[in-house]
Subunit: 268 residues, 4 copies
């Protein structure tokens, strides 16, 4: 069994300096814990609830920052794409291209991303059942790309709330012919007050939810952090405080190590 | 009170001839019933579950067909757009531009559609609570377009099923400062067998669900029909057989007329 | 087609005088509208969220009041039972025995109620799918009672919220071999603030939800009213103000009359 | 931190011999693993979906069997009660009285159970939000009993499916003033085919779901096993094969030990 990978970083590129600071913290912690690590940050939050919310620096500026992370720290980087035209330029810098949940069924975007030959991280839409992942993965494979990560980030549960169906993780794996399953513990913490212009979150419960996901036995974790979550420009209520990365990941790795050391319990 | 409008047509442009046949049937029925009518068909099904499914003729060919409908029958036409670049050319032909549910939070697409000065029909995403419509409508208005229709098409209810929350229709109206509410009775019939590559539907229940929606008191209905639903290239299980348009709409109009003749029952 | 029946009254017997006042208002309104009418009130709210909430006068006192309603107004009466031992004495007074939603799968209670030879009104549990009604009805029939009413009162939708699946009404009818379907529009309005000791409600939307349910085409409506809902001892937020019974029922009857006059739209 | 307790046994008392066999297997495995252990079996399945399903030996015969388990193996025993009159006699034999999920809001049953001075294990209803546990626990405490266990067994998720909201476990603990949280991993595996007379289950996923629950950090696990699940008279599809108790519990204990050794990660 391979140890858990970590896709970690910050929600949106707030500034070059903040990105470097976040990346450094992740690089240091994952280095000390010997966890394979990929940096993540978005250059554009293209689907904010409110038009007044911060979106990010955009493609060109964002890619420069991601390139600097890559060169400075020698780690692979991931970002999400929202338009067909973004796939190729993003793939020149990024090792993993992420398809946002809302866009995961847009065939042309999937095709454009698949054509880059980068690894693809698909966020499972909150409106999609685990077995439907089969069609989603089928699309990518038909486009000739087999390097697929599947990312769970919670499923709609009534209004303005998400729930993680732990039983769905294996279904995703089984119906995708064994694609690695990543658990986005940050997004899964989201909730929203009725009518609110921005999402709320339950970051105080990140450790217990993260442990639960890793206890199932998965390939990796997806995590967003911020030096001051209350001041974050997007999704702060779900973000891990930066100074807790090391103790948080220590817990996650311990659960992952344990679970992967256990013999399989095969039940007919 | 204004009588219900009908946005009706077929799911996807299967051929020019079929579109003309469907449009003729709708024009005739709505004419006889004196219902304001807008023709609807998609030129591209950009988010089919399976990559092997039929998508449609594409933008150029599709717009020609829609233009022919408009000229032949003298009715406004509606289609949905999936890319920013499609907004302007579509608006040269179509009177109403539709934003698909999955894309309803993509800010740039909303902005491009709003900039056309066409009427915008936004499908409420199945993952969005009714009060969240406030942010969605706010985006469009910030972009300078006030001609907004809001279309209910069902909300995620567990896996692979939709439910129409009849209480949400007024919430949508109230939180949008009185945007007209349209009920997509066709899409709301969708369901899906676990793991299936295509959606199923409950077209046998279209009359009762349509009556329920109109009984709430709304601006209009959205309806897809097909001469032979079992042979339809998309969403046949939810489509109304073409020869039932008239008796179906007769029922809908009767409910709409009645409900709009009733005095409001104001309860504190 | 038979016109809609009304099961109407108040949530819990707050006092003899109040019951008589409520019953009189219902008798008068349904008489003027020629609606078959059954009076409803509970003698015990046996499952209040909080132990501090008002429960009612209890079995003996409650039956006296129901008996007085029956004699004074000459209408059949309904109440709900919670214990096996209550079935027989309640059936001496009441024409319809109601099985509460939470208790609808308690086999011995079902058997006791079925043995009385009264009509049985089963509230569909908020945790039960429509097709499961088949097992529930099967239990009652095995106990030798065929006089079954099935009452929809909303289904769990996320936390602390209910949704009425209008498509489920026909499923309930089909899988019960045509039991009459009653729609409890009052209970379906319930919602609850997180952690609250009592339910909230959306009585301001009762007319639109009631019209929607009747527009499907059902046997009857279940309705609770109160002279002053804000002072009601149970479920006031969902109750109809007593002085609106007539205008409310006028709307409901109009929808019911219309829908039952429409020809069936049979779709393969 | 105290190690996890196990409430384990079989769904329903199928026979005295089978109960003794199941109890012996649990006693041996939990002894070898040094896990505090309570035997569980039901004497009556009072709410089977179908009236034709096996219910069990009844109160008198069932208590004799439970008494024999207690004496033979020297372990505490638990069973569930469904009627007020059962509370006292059951408490003469059983150390823990369980309130079934459907009955958890029946005030009189709660009062009767609380009056016995036994420990009470309350199954959280699948229709109840975690914060509502506050009212439920409040009822029991008002009745003078503070020895409360709260048991999660899944929440309604659409029709005929359950989901375990791992974030709810802490909510239950917080809003109950720190009642021990038990996770019924067996029941949480239930699902049901539309219209089926009996529940299905996902016992093949019991290890991953059990690990996830324990990884959150809880007081104990609730588990049903059977020598031959396919022949079990109730809920076999969710039961653990008897010969897997030891390897299964070994995994659970390993996760529990690890999680309880980790320092708390307090996030504001």
């Amino acid at each position: 069994h391979r140890p858990m990978s970590l896709i970690g970083g910050m929600n949106v590129i707030e500034s070059r300096d903040l990105v470097m600071r976040v990346a450094e913290a992740f690089v240091q912690a994952t280095g000390e814990l010997s966890l394979p690590y990929i940096f993540k940050a978005s250059f554009d939050k293209a689907n904010r609830s409110s038009i007044h919310s911060f979106r990010g620096p955009g493609l060109d500026e964002g890619l420069k920052v991601l390139q600097e992370v890559k060169q400075t720290f020698g780690v692979p980087v991931l970002t999400d794409v929202h338009e067909i035209s973004q796939a190729a330029p993003v793939a020149e810098v990024c090792d993993i291209l992420q398809v946002p949940a809302f866009l995961a069924r847009q065939t042309d975007l999937i095709a454009a991303v698949a054509a880059t030959d980068a690894v693809i991280n698909v966020k499972k839409p909150q409106f999609m059942s685990p077995p439907q992942i089969q069609n989603l993965v089928g699309k990518i494979r038909e486009c000739g790309n087999e390097k697929i990560l599947l990312c769970e980030r919670g499923t709609c549960f009534g209004y303005d709330n998400l729930v993680v169906d732990m039983l769905g993780l294996r279904t995703m794996k089984d119906c995708s012919d064994d694609a690695p399953i990543i658990f986005d513990v940050t997004h899964a913490l989201q909730t929203r007050a009725a009518g609110a212009a921005v999402s709320g979150g339950r970051r105080g419960q990140i450790a217990e939810l993260g442990r639960a996901g890793l206890a199932v036995g998965i390939a990796g974790l997806f995590l967003e952090a911020h030096p001051d979550p209350d001041q974050a420009l997007c999704d702060g209520p779900s973000a891990l405080p930066l100074d807790l990365i090391k103790p948080f990941l220590t817990q996650m790795k311990a659960v992952d190590d344990l679970v992967k050391s256990l013999p399989a319990l095969v039940i007919d």
